[in-house]
């Protein structure tokens, strides 16, 4: 392959196209609404992207390992609801560690359940995790009812009030704080990227996603790796759900339901292949950025609010088609 071709390939690779789209999006938004170009937009984007980013990393790990997890929103709901329920019924202590600890334990339990269904009983991941989803969400409401907790316990309120920085709009005087929890997705991305690239565990996840049988022959413990992926996904999703409660001042039994769609799509747009073995933290970040940008700023492009679900769907579909065309292009380059 000559150099010119290499460059032209790099310039039209999926990540580059995502960047072009985002740039075009921002330019149009800025022309229509000069206010778009203020730091406030950036801070809002960061705030809005926290959960999407964390969930997307969870999902990405599962997709790389060759599976899929649609149960994390339901698990997240259980994990955000149960600690608050316990606290409000006089069980448990008012401590950040308690809330996040319980959430993580819940995530662990459901992660193990998913792992058993997929790795040991070898059920199709989509259907298995759908089942987990309905068990989690139905079981939660059945046992604990539907309430909405909107007042945070003091410890979480304290967590909420810590900000990394606060931007004050000089014109309006509005304050735009950026919460300390923004560091969670940042650290998560770095850690997961390092683990995927520089540890046997990470390479093993790629290996089982690429070819389970070859991985077995090579001596990877396929079941253990699958378990790891599903447990990581659930645990991290549960912690993220607790962050959601903290930042949104709300804990309900259905708050996160329906999120899986956007998250999976963000991963796919960012280069994960649903067949497994492909995907990177960098690509997923781009996918999340694009989706967050589109979700939160469509009105700047003049799309009425009521058409935003449709517009997001369209972006996702185009993303999926784009990555398929890219895969075909690479295939057409021929074997060497």
């Amino acid at each position: 392959m000559n150099n010119e071709r290499r460059v032209s390939l790099a310039l039209t690779s999926t990540p580059m196209i995502l960047i072009y789209v985002m740039v075009v999006f921002c330019v149009i938004a800025a022309i229509r609404q000069p206010a778009f170009l203020s730091p406030a937009t950036l801070i809002n984007l960061c705030r809005a992207g926290i959960f999407t980013m964390c969930f997307a990393i969870c999902e990405m790990v599962v997709i790389i390992s060759g599976g899929i997890d649609v149960s994390f929103p339901a698990i997240g709901c259980v994990a955000m609801y149960v600690p608050m329920y316990m606290y409000n019924n006089g069980m448990g202590v008012d401590s950040v560690f308690f809330f996040f600890g319980v959430a993580i334990l819940i995530g662990l339990a459901f992660g193990i359940l998913n792992g058993v269904l997929v790795a040991i009983l070898k059920l199709p991941p989509l259907i298995a995790t759908l089942a987990t989803s309905s068990v989690a969400s139905g079981g939660l409401i059945m046992l604990l009812g539907t309430r909405e907790f909107t007042t945070l316990p003091p410890s979480l309120d304290w967590l909420y009030s810590i900000n990394l920085l606060t931007y004050t709009d000089p014109a309006t005087g509005f304050k735009y704080p950026l919460t300390i929890l923004f560091l969670v997705p940042v650290i998560l991305c770095i850690v997961v990227a390092l683990v995927l690239r520089y540890t046997m565990l990470g390479r093993g996840l790629y290996a089982i996603g690429g070819d389970k049988n070859a991985a077995r022959v090579a001596g990877f413990n396929v079941k253990k790796l699958q378990f790891t992926a599903y447990i990581f996904c659930s645990v991290m999703a549960s912690a993220t759900a607790m962050m959601y409660t903290t930042l949104m001042h709300s804990s309900t039994t259905t708050a996160l339901m329906g999120e899986e769609m956007i998250i999976i799509a963000a991963c796919v747009v960012g280069g994960c292949r649903l067949t497994g073995g492909h995907g990177s933290v960098g690509g997923t970040i781009l996918g999340v950025l694009l989706i967050t940008l589109v979700q939160n700023n469509l009105n700047m492009l003049g799309v009425p609010t009521s058409w935003q679900i449709f517009a997001v769907g369209l972006v996702l579909l185009l993303g999926a088609v784009l990555s398929s065309i890219q895969a075909k292009r690479i295939e057409k380059l021929g074997k060497i």
């Binding site: 059920l123 679900i309 769907g313 088609v321």
Partner: protein
């Protein structure tokens, strides 16, 4: 002759169908013990019949796609989108006094089925032409069609359709709901298509081995598009039913139906990898689930518990599949 009978006989006792029938008997016995007065009344029977056709028909669409080796997660989106369109047509064409009702309803039904078919064909085309997993495409489709419904309605539900439209799902003749007739007709059509048409057989071939289907001269893109179109038409049919049943159309009706229809098809013996499944199994699974849901309802168990129980049953059905596959493999 004896030998041949044996071979045929061994195919017949479909383990899935036997299991479902067994479970039905179990439910009936349980209800005889716990709720003899409530369960076995004409009214209760009728109340069951009013509910299941809408998701029963959705499940048949899901079944077709799954037998073809795919899945259709956009069905609920199609159902609500077509429901909104139908509601709009009925609302706008029918006058205050109820005039123009018949042509409006006929038009609404035609539009719902046609648009459902188009949505499905669009899914199928993207899946087949770009070779993208059906799961991803139909997930996007769900968002798209839901978004269309939401965009058109602007959020709030469209309520208060004319009485004749409400009658479609809520009316009855000689005590038998129209909905049951609609369901039976749809089931007959679907069974005929799956069993006795070239298209239906091609769906099975495609799901069993897509490559071999191509090498046998089957146009796999065409079959994929047609399968999803078929599923979309069934989605449109459900759209009419649910809109009439609830007398309301919006983008988020019946959101539990995706899971429910997956549960029904898997319980009904459709193989998640494609190629296997029978209409009979899916119909029986639909009825079984309605019986259970109704029984739970009579015992004052709420919807969320049902969701929980459905999830457990989905796992159980899959485990049964794994077990039966293993046993069959051992025998062979």
């Amino acid at each position: 002759m004896n030998n041949k009978e044996k071979a045929v006989g061994r195919r017949m006792p479909d383990t899935h169908i036997m299991t479902i029938l067994g479970l039905m008997v179990l439910v009936i016995i349980m209800m005889l013990i716990f709720q003899p007065g409530n369960y076995f009344t004409l009214m209760n029977l009728r109340s069951m019949i009013y509910q299941f056709p809408e998701y029963g028909i959705l499940s048949l669409g899901m079944m077709a796609c799954m037998i073809a080796g795919g899945i259709d997660l956009s069905l609920v989106g199609i159902m609500n989108f077509t429901g909104v369109l139908a509601a709009l047509i009925v609302k706008n064409m029918v006058t205050e006094e109820g005039g123009m009702a018949a042509p409006a309803i006929i038009l609404a039904v035609i539009v719902a089925l046609a648009v459902g078919g188009l949505c499905g064909a669009f899914n199928g085309f993207i899946i087949g032409y770009f070779n993208i997993p059906a799961m991803l495409v139909t997930l996007c489709g769900l968002q798209l069609y839901k978004g269309l419904a939401y965009g058109i309605t602007g959020g709030p539900a469209i309520n208060g359709m004319c009485d004749p439209f409400k009658e479609i799902a809520n009316g009855s003749i000689a005590g038998i709901p129209y909905a049951l007739f609609i369901f039976i007709v749809v089931v007959l059509i679907v069974s005929f298509v799956m069993k006795s048409t070239v298209f239906g057989n091609e769906i099975y071939f495609l799901g069993s081995n897509a490559q071999a289907a191509k090498y046998s001269g089957i146009n796999t893109l065409k079959v994929t598009v047609m399968t999803h179109m078929f599923s979309g038409i069934l989605g449109g049919c459900s759209g009419i039913l649910i809109t009439s049943h609830l007398n309301s159309a919006k983008s988020s009706n019946g959101e539990t139906y995706t899971l429910l229809s997956l549960l029904i098809v898997v319980l009904g013996g459709v193989h998640p990898d494609g190629g296997k499944g029978r209409v009979m199994g899916v119909v029986l699974a639909t009825i079984l689930l309605q019986m259970i849901a109704n029984a739970l309802g009579l015992m004052h168990i709420d919807d969320n518990t049902k969701t929980f129980i459905n999830g457990c049953m989905l796992v159980a059905a899959l485990l049964l599949d794994v077990y039966l596959d293993k046993r069959a493999a051992k025998r062979a």
